[in-house]
């Protein structure tokens, strides 16, 4: 599902990062571990097509993301890749339901409220469907962000430090939700983290 050759990226200051080739099959779950500055976030962004590599190929769901024109990469990401960040980053002026509608709209998919209600229910947010982000707790916001990432049934879920700002209970809950959801949709799940709490839950990991 994810297949990269050796990837390299050059930064403005002349610093260069290289990543060894990496293969992940459909439904595989892996942690991406490394200290700060090791390039976890950079690799996640490369895999998501949020930035361009200097050399190398990234094949996701059979398409070469490294050589896609920008607008096409945007659309591909919306359709096949679910992204989760350390902060929920919900659109502040939209309700939970509207945030999910926006996710369908930006991915170029038709509005499907049935699917939205289903995902909201799966993440136990039905009572918050019409709440604005600022009216919700941190844990609820992160669940809504997961709901948004899962909405379009992505092939790949990329999570960048999803639990870093959560307490133990919420960390456990979010990790379990991610695993459960990935399994439900047979999605490949990559979690970039330096959170030791996750290592106990997910055995497979890759160090940078």
């Amino acid at each position: 599902m994810i297949d990269t050759t050796e990837l390299s990226i050059e930064f403005a200051g002349g610093r260069k990062l290289t990543f060894a080739p990496w293969q992940l099959t459909q439904g595989e779950v892996s942690l991406l571990i490394g200290g700060s500055g090791s390039g976890k976030t950079t690799l996640i962004h490369l895999l998501a097509g949020l930035r361009q590599s200097s050399s190398g190929n990234i094949t996701i769901a059979g398409a070469n993301l490294a050589h896609m024109p920008k607008a096409q990469a945007d659309r591909f990401r919306g359709r096949y890749i679910g992204l989760i960040f350390q902060q929920p980053h919900l659109l502040a002026s939209l309700t939970v339901t509207q945030n999910l509608l926006a996710a369908q709209y930006f991915a170029g998919l038709p509005a499907n409220s049935k699917r939205i209600a289903e995902v909201i229910a799966e993440l136990n947010l039905s009572h918050r469907a019409d709440a604005f982000p600022h009216q919700m707790s941190q844990g609820e916001q992160q669940r809504a962000a997961i709901a948004r990432a899962m909405l379009n049934q992505p092939r790949v879920i990329l999570a960048d430090e999803p639990t870093a700002s959560l307490d133990d209970d919420n960390c456990q809950a979010v990790a379990n939700l991610l695993l459960l959801q990935a399994a439900r949709y047979k999605a490949t799940l990559v979690i970039a983290t330096h959170d030791g709490r996750l290592k106990n839950l997910i055995p497979k990991h890759r160090c940078l």
Binding site: D74, R75, H89, L91, Q98, A102, G108
Partner: protein, 416 residues
């Protein structure tokens, strides 16, 4: 879900700042629309009232004053002219038609005009009730006069000396009788009380030298007072005459001929109206310039709001990209926001401009004379709307380019 909805949500998320910008823009546009409506209607009215009148002849004084008093009935007359001079001029071969007028009195602020039947004929006025005046001391009143004073056919009233409301003494011993009411014509006739020239003479008869027949009104079925100059004794006076040329040559020769006479003055409505517009034009330009300034301030304010919002929203924009939005979509989103504010501001401004035009009549007696309406729409307003949208697009352009260029990876990597 679409960009329009998201834009609207963003505008609603900052209600005060956006409302303020909309109102500032609306004010600037309202003033421009008002000036447009007012000058258009003023011009139309002036032209309509002055149409077909080539020359106004009265006594010496300001030509502008002569035109304003004789055609538009807003200023005071310059003075009177002798009947003999008037008669001589009416017989001049280059004069096709004269409409004589005797002014000086008013009723409740509406001017009483002693004239003949060619005056309403000139404006193609029609009778709504009753009949045209025929004899001395009979009047036909304009629609506005009837509406404001409540006079009906058959009612009697006395005029008062002078032209303002409640100025001068009433000529209580001379009662006019209303024989007819005119249909609204959109001309100056709506505000006038028309009667014979003889009536005006009768009311102003010098009591000290009166003879036995002085107070006897002429009652005949075919009084020559209805067309042409009435027979008058030595020393009778008119106020002005509205003249139509017989041929184009008259335009060159007649004014010179008249102005060479010591007691008469000729003024051309076309020349004086053009001069009036030039004088008004300076004031209009100043107000217009000021309203453009307001619009520039509004544009700047919208720009600053969008630009600041861009900084606050860089995570939102990055997340939209993460969700699959293209750069072009983010560009369109910010442009749409600027355009929506500009659209709201200009629609509100155009509405406000029309309200201002409609309510100017309530500002005072002089303004009431102008009788502006807010219910006409001009092609130029589409131009204003287009211009405002262009300004909205320009103010949004730089923030929209910023949104287009957002480095999503850098923004998202920063976390928070």
């Amino acid at each position: 879900m679409n960009l329009f909805f998201i834009s609207l949500q963003y505008i609603k998320a900052r209600p005060l700042s956006n409302l303020l910008n909309t109102v500032i823009l609306a004010l600037g546009i309202a003033v421009i629309v008002f000036l447009l409506l007012a000058s258009h209607q003023l011009e139309e009215k002036l032209i309509k009232n002055a149409k077909g009148i080539d020359l106004v002849v009265g006594s010496k004084g300001s030509p502008m004053q002569l035109i304003l008093s004789a055609i538009f009935h807003i200023d005071y007359p310059t003075g009177n002219i002798g009947l003999e001079d008037a008669r001589a001029l009416a017989r001049h071969p280059m004069v096709k038609q004269v409409i004589p007028m005797a002014l000086g009195d008013s009723y409740k602020g509406f001017r009483i005009v002693g004239t003949d039947s060619r005056y309403p004929e000139h404006y193609k006025a029609e009778i709504a009730q009753g009949r045209w005046w025929k004899n001395d001391m009979e009047v036909t009143i304009g629609s506005k006069v009837a509406q404001a004073s409540g006079l009906k056919v058959g009612d009697r009233f006395a005029g008062s000396h002078g032209m303002g409301d409640g100025v001068g003494d009433e000529h209580a011993e001379h009662q006019y009788v209303v024989t007819g009411i005119m249909k609204p014509s959109g001309t100056v006739l709506d505000n006038l009380v028309l009667t014979t020239i003889g009536s005006v003479w009768l009311v102003h008869e010098d009591h000290s030298k009166e003879d036995s027949t002085a107070h006897v009104p002429q009652v005949t079925n075919q009084p020559d007072t209805l067309s042409g100059l009435p027979p008058g004794k030595e020393g009778r006076e008119l106020t002005v005459m509205l003249i139509q040329y017989r041929n184009p040559m008259a335009a060159i020769q007649l004014p010179r001929f008249i102005n060479a006479q010591s007691r008469l003055q000729a003024a051309s409505p076309a020349v004086e109206v053009a001069r009036l517009f030039r004088i008004l034009g300076v004031g209009v330009s100043v107000v217009q310039g000021f309203s453009y300034l307001i619009i520039v301030v509004a544009a700047l304010s919208i720009f600053i709001a969008l630009y600041n919002a861009l900084k606050e929203r860089r995570y939102d924009l990055a997340v939209m990209r993460a969700l699959g939005a293209s750069q072009t979509k983010l560009f369109a989103l910010v442009m749409l926001e600027g355009l929506l504010i500009a659209l709201a501001g200009s629609l509100f401004g155009i509405f406000l401009g029309h309200v201002m035009a409609a309510s100017i009549g309530y500002l005072g007696e002089e303004a009431e004379q102008a009788q502006f309406t807010g219910l006409i729409f001009l092609v130029e307003e589409c131009l204003i709307l287009g211009g405002a949208l262009l300004i909205g697009a320009l103010t949004a352009l730089i923030p929209a380019i910023g949104a287009y260029r957002t480095d999503i990876s850098a923004v998202l990597a920063k976390g928070e």
